[in-house]
Symmetry: C3
Subunit: 141 residues, 3 copies
């Protein structure tokens, strides 16, 4: 699924993701590969950066969707939503899960394409949705 | 809070952080932005690298300080300090927490500034202090 | 331990790791440093990328091997192998642990060498072995 994107110049691009539930994994692989292709860069790196504190990026299996269901269920169990947190907004678990997964992922571009393993997809991780989110992609090459 | 830094040449900088307790989060955003500004690089990337095995770097909310308190309390609960570890030094939990958070963070530089979300700050994570720690910043552009 | 590697051109290299048990940590520091040296790059960055979904990369202590034993035992406890997962293949825990540790690590090259802390080694993390695995190294400078 691609959403369209903005070219901000100097190899920097942004696009938006609309999440539809509180916890959600969205496959961004096609969208990011399209930006890489359009950039014309054949050899280099592609940085995916999430400018939020309760959403993250990771790599995961793109074959069986049950992996995604189990993945999110288990991390929600490891970091419980309620645990006498002091933060008034009540979303501390989302902050911690995002930090555990990470806000950036650096990928390799070779021959104009992302170097990904057979089963690898690039996923947006929503931990405090539904919201409209931004993703930055920085191509260097 | 800025501490002063050393310019090691070729876009590489280092600065030191003095942690004052066993577990601590320290906001490095201002220090890193100052290095980016002084480097004169307008478009590129900024790699923050922690050369330790019991300290890490992450992004977190810079508004409510309770997020930081809850964040550290919860990760300490998930990875208990005592758990019949074999490592004589007794700080295995610190090693694991550092790996879960990560030793590097790559940020985007656009128009001479770090591209950060509204609520994002860059944090040094101390898991086995108090100690004098080093942070490397590598600017590419 | 070095395994030999292939130079794919444009600063991209790959090598293989043969894991011998289900859960395993393998020190890749020497192999990666050899690639950096052979590349001839004196100043830049070195991206280590794992093209799998049940293996990862991290930094860890290279002194006491008990750290590695405790490290893997504790993460296996935090993310249990059996937990009524829906994914038929039964390796969801491996997917989650790999995402928690991360699929890439960006290192600094200075004076032709990796900038690592005194106790830092670069480790391949196997969570669903034994298998033959691939590691990519991208040198930019």
């Amino acid at each position: 699924m691609t959403y369209g994107y903005q070219n901000l110049g100097s190899g920097l691009y942004q696009f938006h993701v609309g999440t539809t539930s509180h916890t959600e994994m969205i496959d961004m692989t096609e969208q990011i590969q399209k930006i890489v292709s359009d950039s014309g860069v054949l050899e280099g790196t592609c940085l995916v950066y999430i400018p939020h504190t309760t959403a993250a990026v990771t790599i995961n299996e793109n074959a069986d969707e049950n992996v995604q269901v189990d993945f999110m269920k288990e991390i929600n169990k490891i970091v419980p939503w309620e645990d006498n947190y002091q933060h008034a907004e009540g979303n501390v678990a989302a902050h911690l899960k995002a930090s555990m997964m990470g806000f950036s992922e650096t990928l390799i571009i070779h021959g104009g394409s992302l170097v990904l393993g057979t089963w690898q997809g690039i996923y947006f991780l929503e931990y405090d949705g539904a919201r409209r989110r931004t993703v930055y992609v920085k191509i260097s090459g």
